[in-house]
């Protein structure tokens, strides 16, 4: 199953981009997500919601894309594919490693299970809905 992506740029403070993923996120398409996050940041968005409501499968490549999204939205260079475990692990050890301006929304149970079993929920807040995630970033 191919993945389809819908991008919505919202106003407010900070400006938030919502990227809704539908289908299967794997090694063949994860770079599309990274590219869209890069584009959103360049266009001025300082908050990001990844809407996972229609995502039915996520490979570890998807975790890499999410990690890259955090780095991009911090204004940092996304991790290099060969950067390795050490540097990324160091990021998780930082106090306040959980991103405040990047949130996940509406993950189905299998996707939430992948996030949980790989420890990624320490890095991301997972909200029940897209609206809740946007509100959390914008402090509404």
């Amino acid at each position: 199953m191919a993945m389809t992506i819908d991008v919505e740029r919202l106003g407010g403070n900070p400006p938030v981009t919502v990227i809704a993923l539908a289908g299967e996120l794997d090694a063949s398409n994860y770079e599309q997500v990274i590219d869209l996050v890069r584009t959103a940041y360049a266009a001025g968005s300082r908050g990001l919601v990844l809407d996972l409501e229609q995502l039915t499968f996520m490979a570890s490549s998807g975790l890499f894309a999410m990690h890259s999204a955090v780095r991009i939205m911090r204004g940092e260079t996304p991790p290099d594919a060969e950067e390795g475990w050490g540097a990324l692990h160091q990021m998780a050890q930082d106090q306040g490693a959980q991103a405040s301006n990047v949130r996940l929304a509406a993950a189905q149970e299998p996707i939430a299970r992948v996030l949980d079993r790989t420890g990624m929920l320490r890095l991301f807040a997972l909200d029940a809905t897209r609206a809740e995630a946007v509100s959390a970033i914008q402090g509404a």
């Binding site: 199953m1 191919a2 299967e24 794997d26 090694a27 063949s28 994860y30 770079e31 499968f57 490979a59 570890s60 490549s61 975790l63 890499f64 990690h67 594919a81 060969e82 950067e83 390795g84 475990w85 990324l88 692990h89 990021m91 998780a92 490693a97 299998p110 299970r113 992948v114 079993r117 790989t118 420890g119 990624m120 320490r122 890095l123």
Partner: protein, 151 residues
């Protein structure tokens, strides 16, 4: 894509390209369903096989042309999935262990460094052997009745 076999044993052959991972996932999901496995068992095996197959594509064949065979069978209420390639010999069961509970896991796209720990979490057994005429045979076993280690 080539699919053969009937009843309790089936095989799919795909080119060693990440563009074919979706075919492998569909194959595994359909096999588990036909064998009588639950959605949870299917989810876990699909995740494990995707991880292992992607590793072969990106880090075994290194994006060079080749084929991967994935065989699924039901034996003694255990689902066995064998992943066969012709890449350089690599035994993931001997890779250094990492703490899977501490983020972040991903170190590289595709195989991502999740490696053997994730496969062991998702399955009951993982076995590797070098094929006599070159390549690898990785076998993942999951009881059709089992829960995961997390439950």
């Amino acid at each position: 894509m080539v699919v053969s076999g009937a009843h309790e044993s089936r095989t799919i052959q795909v080119p060693a390209s990440v563009d074919h991972l979706a075919e492998v996932r569909t194959f595994v999901r359909e096999c588990v369903a036909d064998f009588g496995g639950s959605k949870r068992v299917a989810d876990d095996l699909v995740q494990a096989v995707d991880e292992a197959t992607c590793n072969v594509m990106l880090h075994g064949y290194k994006s060079q042309p080749g084929d991967i065979d994935v065989e699924a069978r039901l034996r003694d209420r255990k689902i066995e999935i064998r992943i066969l390639d012709r890449g350089p010999t690599f035994d993931p069961t001997t890779a250094p262990e990492r703490d899977t509970t501490s983020p972040p896991m991903p170190t590289r796209p595709g195989g991502m460094g999740l490696g053997i720990e994730l496969l062991r979490t998702l399955t009951d057994e993982v076995h590797h052997s070098a094929r006599p005429d070159g390549g690898n045979e990785l076998t993942l076993v999951r009881s059709i009745d089992s829960q995961t280690q997390e439950e």
